[in-house]
Each structure stands twice: as C-alpha cells, then as structure tokens.
C-alpha cells in the first residue's frame, strides 16, 4: 500500500478530445476529458446515448473507427505516454483488453470457443505450445465460471447461452493478463439474472486478479452494483466525478440528479393491498385461454420422430377494460410470442382468444381470423418500425385511413390533434423518421397505434431502446393515454420496475408458462414464488424501495 502512493496511477487520461469527421466538418464527440484509473478499481463511465462514453472507451483501447481524427490530449499507462502506431498495437490484448456489449457478435461463429481462446493466448505473446495453450484456455474458462470447461472447449458460440458467451468473451479479455479491461456495456444484452452474475464475476476479477476495469454503461443500476468511482458524461464532457456512493446519495450536478431520478425503482415496502384488486375484477376486454404453441420444425417429417417442444404452454391471461396488464419475463420466456399471437401476427396450436366478446381462432393468421388491426402493436425499436421513406404525416394518415375505425365510419381524431396529444410539434409532420430522435420516433409509433382505433394496444418493450430520461417520458405518455382514452393495454417488458410503474396486474412468464401473477402493487412484496424472488434479487439493491 505504501508503494501504491508513490507509483503513478495505472491509467492517466489528460485533456482528451476526439473529433468525428462528419460531412459538414469535424464534430467533437469527446471534449477535454481528464481522469485517472487506479489499480484494482472499477471506474464507471455513465451517460446517455451521444454522451461520447463509448468513443472515450474506444480511444483508450485504440480502436477508433477510421472516420475519427486521431485523438488530442494524452493517455499515460503506468506513467508512460501511449502513442499511436506499432507500440499501441502491442498493448492491445496484452495491457489493455476489452469486452463488448454484444456477446454473439463478439465471437467468430465458425470457430469453437476453445480455439478462439487458445488463439488469443498464443497471440498475446505467451510462450506456449498448442497443447499448453489449450490447457490454459480450459483453466481460464473455469476461472470465469464456465461449468464443465473441457466439454465447452469444443463448443461453437451458438451452442452456448448468452451468459456463457459473455463469460467466454471475458476469458478472452483475460487471456493476455491485461492490467486494464475496458468493458463497454458488458451486461446490456443479457437477462437480469445473468446480468447480476456477470457483474459479480467482474467484481471478483478485480478483487482477485489485480485488473482494473473501465466500465462504460448507460445503466445506473450496473454502476450502483460494482463501480468504485463514477464519471458522469454529457455531450462529450465530464459533468461529475466522484465515488459511487457520493454520486448516488449526494449528486452535485443537476444532470446527474435528473439521471438518478429517471431510474425506475421497484417498490416493495409500500405494498398497499386490496384496493387494486377491483380493477382486475372489472369486465375483461381480452381473455386468453390455454394458448399453447409448439416450435415449428421444418423439413420433411415422414421418417423422423416428432419431438414435443413448446414455445408456449397453456398460457391464460385476462385484461380488464381500461386497464394495463404486464407480462414480465426473461428472453425465451414466450412473452413476445404471446403478444404476437394476440395481435394476430402468429398462430398457435391450441387455446382461444376472446376480444371484446368476440372469439377468434388462434390457429389461423390474423388476416384470416380477423384479429389483425383490432390489436395494435408498439414495438421495441422505433427506428425499424417506421417506414424510412414515409413522412410522419404519411405514416399517421395511413393508420387513420386504413385502420379499423375508418372502416366503421366513426369519427377519427385528426392527425394534428394526435400530434398535440403525444407532445410533438406539428412541424415534424413533414419530416422523415431519420430526422427524429429515438424518443420522438417512439411517440409517433404510439400515435400510429392509437389512430388506428384498436380494441387493445400491445406494447412490446417500448422503452428498452431508449435512454432513461426518455424512457420515463414515454411511460408517462402511455399512462396518460390509457387514462384519457380508456385504453386497454398489454405491456410486455423484462423490467420489473417499469412494469410495476404502469401496470395494474402482472403476469410473470418463464419457459413458455405463466409462473406467477398478481396485482402489481403487491405481487413483488407478497409472492412466495421462488422465481419471482430471484427476479427481484437480480435487481440492483439500491433501486429497490
């Protein structure tokens, strides 16, 4: 420890600026950023999209895209300035390693994970034979918590689960025994329960293996769980830097305060009971009964045995008129599939759907059974759910003219009135989707769904692709629409806090079944279902009340 005080910080970044060569001249993405990374600490860099946090991370690894100017300022590793060029390349993987967000895209799909790991070990300059590299790789896989590493060594990436893949990626980062790991959103593509396991693994590595981590993320929850210190970034600049506990408890900057306020909190303590049951008792607008769906197996089947695998098994849901029912689950739970079946976008093998007292045949597609159009969807990614070649006005008018209401000749609220309702300026009507921000696009998607005059609306992770501050605005807008227009909505999400925030009743799905259900106020406090508990435990403790 005495020694530590004399040595320079592991990584010193001084007055770093990075410019992007845009068409209209260079754009500053990172502006005059300075910070230190100490040995054995996790430094969190948090910010919303466009804050420059990933660019900062890439500048540290030395992997900026060619359309960036070489960064200005200084990066010192162990007191020695890091210059670009050959020397820089030699640091990569050996001194500074990295972990990316998308574990699937990070791995070569055509090579076994073991070979990829062994190749990294050999490339990062360790003197080892192929055999030794293999043994080292298996040892590394064990160290990052992969069960049965000898067997996993010969697996291809697609044969592993998301969590295992991200562990492999982390093992590769460790292969060259680096001093620093730059982790860019390492858990954002993972389910909540897996996310927490990976975070604990990172913390353990820092504590046991003497690496330091620069953790780039948009998620306050991730920061609150494992970071020692935090850098809050906005528009390329650092607006606040402090220890994690001071930032969370006594934020000095107003932007930090607004970021913290926007984080959805799971409420467990104030489990007010009884009062909310009545809403669920009201007459249902949607009844889903015993819906099952087997995985479709393609190809000729005249010789093979049919294996029974279910995407959905006996799923029943009930949505009261004017209420919001939430469906929560991790990836593979079937929450999206049931939403798509209710919308008439997919078929099921068994079960029934009653919408507005009319029964629909779930074994037919929506265009045949008449469901299509009666249910409107709001999707996760607003960017890809709007036609890029149609203006906002065209998209909305199409919804009015060809939606169900127009067919029944009821009066339709005008497009302009709707723009007002969703809080967008009428000037945007003649714009194209790419000229709008993510939040604005999602508002347009909501407007488009409402204008079609649906019986119910299904929102499938409508906020997951958005920044936290925008997320809370969209949730507020959805809640207002439900209240004002007596709308009924199925709200699908992986986030317990968001679901609790907007829903009256919650269904928790796992492996194609409804695992647990109850009124949203009380379910998380009162349920004795072990899976519900594991979901709650996987949430950052600081954001549970």
């Amino acid at each position: 420890m005495k020694l530590e005080a004399d040595r320079p910080p592991l990584l010193e970044v001084r007055n770093l600026s990075v410019r992007y060569l845009a068409k209209g001249g260079p754009m500053t993405i990172v502006r005059d950023v300075s910070f230190d990374l100490r040995r054995g600490e996790i430094l969190g860099i948090i910010g919303e999209s466009g804050a420059g946090k990933s660019t900062l991370g890439n500048a540290i690894i030395g992997l900026l895209d060619p359309n960036f100017e070489p960064p200005e300022g200084e990066i010192r590793l162990n007191g020695k300035a890091v210059v670009n060029g050959r020397e820089r390349e030699a640091l990569r993987g050996r001194k500074i390693a990295s972990v990316f967000q998308d574990h699937t895209a990070s791995l070569d799909p055509l090579m076994t994970v073991g070979s990829q790991l062994a190749e990294t070990i050999l490339a990062t300059g360790r003197k080892a034979s192929r055999k030794q590299a293999q043994a080292l790789a298996i040892e590394l896989m064990g160290r990052v918590g992969i069960q049965d590493p000898e067997r996993r060594f010969i697996s291809y990436p697609h044969q592993l689960s998301g969590g295992q893949r991200q562990r492999v990626v982390i093992a590769m980062a460790l292969a060259g025994s680096p001093e620093i790991i730059v982790a860019d959103e390492p858990t954002s593509a993972l389910d909540t329960t897996i996310q927490m396991q990976i975070l604990r693994l990172l913390r353990r590595l820092v504590d046991e293996e003497m690496v330091s981590i620069v953790l780039v993320t948009h998620d306050m929850g991730v920061i609150s769980e494992i970071a020692d210190r935090v850098l809050v970034m906005k528009d390329g600049q650092v607006v606040e830097e402090d220890t994690t506990s001071s930032v969370l408890e006594t934020p000095k900057n107003s932007y930090t305060r607004s970021l913290l306020a926007a984080v959805p909190r799971l409420r467990i303590s104030d489990a007010r009971q009884a009062k909310h049951h009545e809403e669920h008792e009201r007459a249902p607008i949607l009844l889903v009964e015993g819906v099952s769906k087997a995985f479709s197996t393609s190809g000729m089947r005249f010789l093979g045995r049919r294996s029974e695998k279910f995407a959905l098994q006996n799923v029943s849901l009930r949505l009261a008129r004017g209420a919001v029912a939430g469906i929560v689950g991790e990836s593979g739970s079937g929450k999206t599939t049931i939403g798509r079946i209710v919308a008439g976008l997919e078929t099921a093998n068994a079960g029934s759907i009653v919408l507005d007292r009319a029964k629909y045949d779930v074994s037919l597609r929506g265009s045949k059974n008449g469901l299509l159009g009666r249910v409107q969807m709001i999707f996760q990614d607003p960017a890809s759910s709007l036609n890029p070649r149609m203006t906002i006005s065209e998209a909305l008018v199409e919804s009015v003219r060809f939606g169900l209401k127009a067919r029944s000749e009821n009066k339709v609220p005008g497009v302009e009135a709707m723009m007002d309702r969703i809080g967008l300026s009428k000037n945007l009507l003649n714009r194209y989707p790419h000229q709008l921000s993510g939040g604005q696009k999602q508002r347009v998607c909501i407007a488009r769904a409402l204008l079609a005059g649906p019986g119910i609306v299904i929102a499938d992770e409508p906020t997951s692709a958005l920044d936290v501050s925008v997320q809370s605005e969209i949730i507020a807008l959805l809640r207002e629409c439900v209240m004002e227009q007596n709308l009924s909505m199925l709200f699908i999400s992986h986030d317990l806090a968001v679901v609790q925030d907007i829903c009256d009743f919650v269904y928790i799905m796992k492996d194609g079944r409804v695992e647990d259900s109850g009124p949203s106020r009380s379910i998380f406090a009162q349920s004795d279902n072990p899976y519900t508990h594991s979901l709650i435990e996987a949430r950052p403790r600081r954001f549970i009340q």
Binding site: I61, L63, E89, A90, R92, G93, R94, A97, S98, F100, D102, A105, S106, L107, D108, P109, L110, M111, E119, T120, A123, T124, Y156, H158, Q159, V169, M172, A173, A175, G176, S298, G299, M300, R301, F302, L303, G304
Partner: protein, 323 residues
C-alpha cells in the same frame, strides 16, 4: 438426416425428369432429323418414310418419350443418328477434355479471385481496391469470344508461345486420353484455361470483396483486433471462413457451367469437349446425343449442389444442427 438425403434424391429425380421432358419437346420442335440423315437430293419418299419408321419418329411424341424413358431405365440413351455410336459413349469420350479444361480453369481462379477480393475488401476505397474493382468489371464485361481471340493473338500469333487450338499430345490414363499429362498438352491447355479462368477470377473477386467488407464491419473482427490478433491472422483465420459460403456456391455453379456450356471457348480453340458436342448435335438434330448430354449436365448440377451443401455444413457449424 436420412429424411434430408431421401428428400434430396426425390428432388433430384423429379428435376431430371422435368429437364428431360423440356429437352425432348425442345429438340422435337426444332425440326425433323430425318432430313439430316438421308441424302435429301437422292432419297425417294419411300426412303424417307422407311428412315422415319426405323428411327421411331412416326409414333406420337408421348410414345417416343415413354420409349426414351424405358431405354434410359436400362442405361441406354440410344445411338447417335450422325455418328452411329452409342450416345452416352460418345459423351464419355468427350468428357475428359472438358473436365480437365474446367478443372484447370477453376483451380487457380478460386484462390486468386478470393485473394484479390480479400485484398480489395480490407481497405475499401483504397487505390488497390479501385484497381481490382475496375479491372473485374472490365474482365466480366468483355465477351468471351473476344477474350479468346485476343489471347490467341497475343499468346499464339505474336509471340508463338502457345499453340492456338487443339488438344495436343494426350496420354492415356484410366482408359481415357488426357492432355494435362504431357508437356505439349499443357501448352495447348494454357490459352483456353486462361480464357475460362479470367472471368471467373473477376466474379469471385467481386464476391469475396463484398463479403470481406461486410464481415470486417462486424463486431467480432473488431473484437479480434482488441484481443491483439495480427491483421493477417484475422484476415485468414476469421474473415476468410466467414466469407466462404457464397464463394463455394459460385465456384460450384461456375464449374458446372463450364462443364456444359463452355461452347464459345471450346469452339474457338477447337477443343473437342462437351459444349461443342452439344451445339453440334443440336444443329444436326441428333436427338440421342442431345438428350444424353442434357441429362448428364443436369445430373452434374445436382451432384455439385449436393457437394456445395456438404461443404456448407463443414464450413458452418450452425448449418450442421439443422441438417
């Protein structure tokens, strides 16, 4: 797995049947072969009628087709009207010439094309990339008869390095005559091989380039750089396998195409191959030979496609699961 193979066989069988029907009707509509067989100036109406009956051409078309199928079932494609030799044997005697030509053209074309594509795709927009792209457009757009004649002009007439046509000396191997086994034969092969290889190099290079540009943008190549791998290792060990599926497909298809339809090059270089046999037989309305050739070509394509699919599953572990 057995389902897949069984399905494949069924598919191939149906394909061959449809192909033969189309070919049969096509060659029937092209004209009456009798007039190519009898001497039109001296033959009497009686002679022509006798020849027609002898060839079975007096029967309705569907009867002729059923007879053809019956014969094929016993492995007999009939006797050539012109050469008076078994049609399938005639085809087999031309096969080595075409096969060695197509094989020797694809052998360098695949690696050279892929290599050029990788080079170009690594730095899109660079001078090298532009050069490779432009010359590939040029190589693809010149007609093959012009390319063949230019090669003869340069390689045979001006310099006299290579002969301008024919197979040269051949050596017997496995009961067939092969040119590539003799030095003289190889000299005869050089120009037609080049004429066939150049457009293929260009095609494969363009395919490899676009694949490389796409793969190098993906996260895992970026991650490979972050891991500290050398650029050449990333290129050959990671990018190359990931771009190889479309390349394998096109190599398979082009190889099949060269076996059957290298007519222009074979004609210009007086190369006695299958393409030339097919065109000559169509002109002479030599139905047995045309049918034998078409059936053979269809079978070759089915076989090549199966080989391509097997290669897929070797290259891509994700394909293996679904097969």
């Amino acid at each position: 797995m057995t389902n897949v193979i069984l399905g494949r066989f069924l598919q191939a069988f149906l394909l061959l049947l449809v192909m033969s029907l189309i070919g049969f009707i096509g060659i029937h509509s092209a004209g009456n072969p009798v007039y190519n067989i009898v001497n039109v100036e001296t033959a009497s109406a009686e002679d022509i009628r006798e020849a027609t009956i002898a060839l079975g051409l007096d029967q309705p078309l569907w009867v002729q087709y059923v007879r053809f199928l019956e014969n094929v079932g016993t492995g007999n494609f009939g006797t050539s009207y012109i050469y008076h030799l078994p049609a399938f044997g005639l085809l087999l005697s031309k096969l080595p010439a075409t096969f060695e030509l197509a094989f020797l053209a694809m052998l360098p074309a695949a690696p050279i094309g892929t290599g050029l594509g990788l080079l170009a795709g690594r730095h899109p927009g660079s001078i090298l990339d532009g050069l490779i792209l432009r010359s590939s457009v040029f190589a693809l757009s010149i007609p093959s008869f012009w390319l063949s004649m230019m090669l003869i002009l340069l390689g045979a007439i001006f310099t006299g390095w290579f002969p301008s046509g024919g197979r040269g000396e051949t050596l017997s191997f496995l009961g067939q005559n092969w040119s590539f086994l003799t030095l003289d034969g190889l000299r005869h092969l050089a120009l037609p091989v080049l004429a066939l290889a150049i457009p293929n190099i260009a095609l494969i290079a363009r395919l490899a380039r676009s694949g490389t540009v796409e793969v190098e943008r993906l996260d895992f190549t970026r991650f490979c750089r972050a891991k500290g791998l050398s650029p050449s290792r990333i290129l050959f060990r990671h990018t190359l396998p990931n771009i190889s599926i479309p390349i394998v497909t096109i190599v398979g298809l082009q190889f099949g195409g060269m076996l059957a339809f290298a007519v222009v090059v074979e004609s210009i270089f007086a190369w006695p191959g299958i393409g030339k046999l097919l065109i000559d037989s169509i002109q002479l309305l030599d139905r047995p030979v045309v049918m034998a050739t078409l059936t053979f070509v269809s079978a070759v394509f089915v076989l090549l496609n199966a080989l391509v699919d097997i290669t897929y599953s070797i290259l891509d572990p994700r394909v293996r699961v679904s097969v």
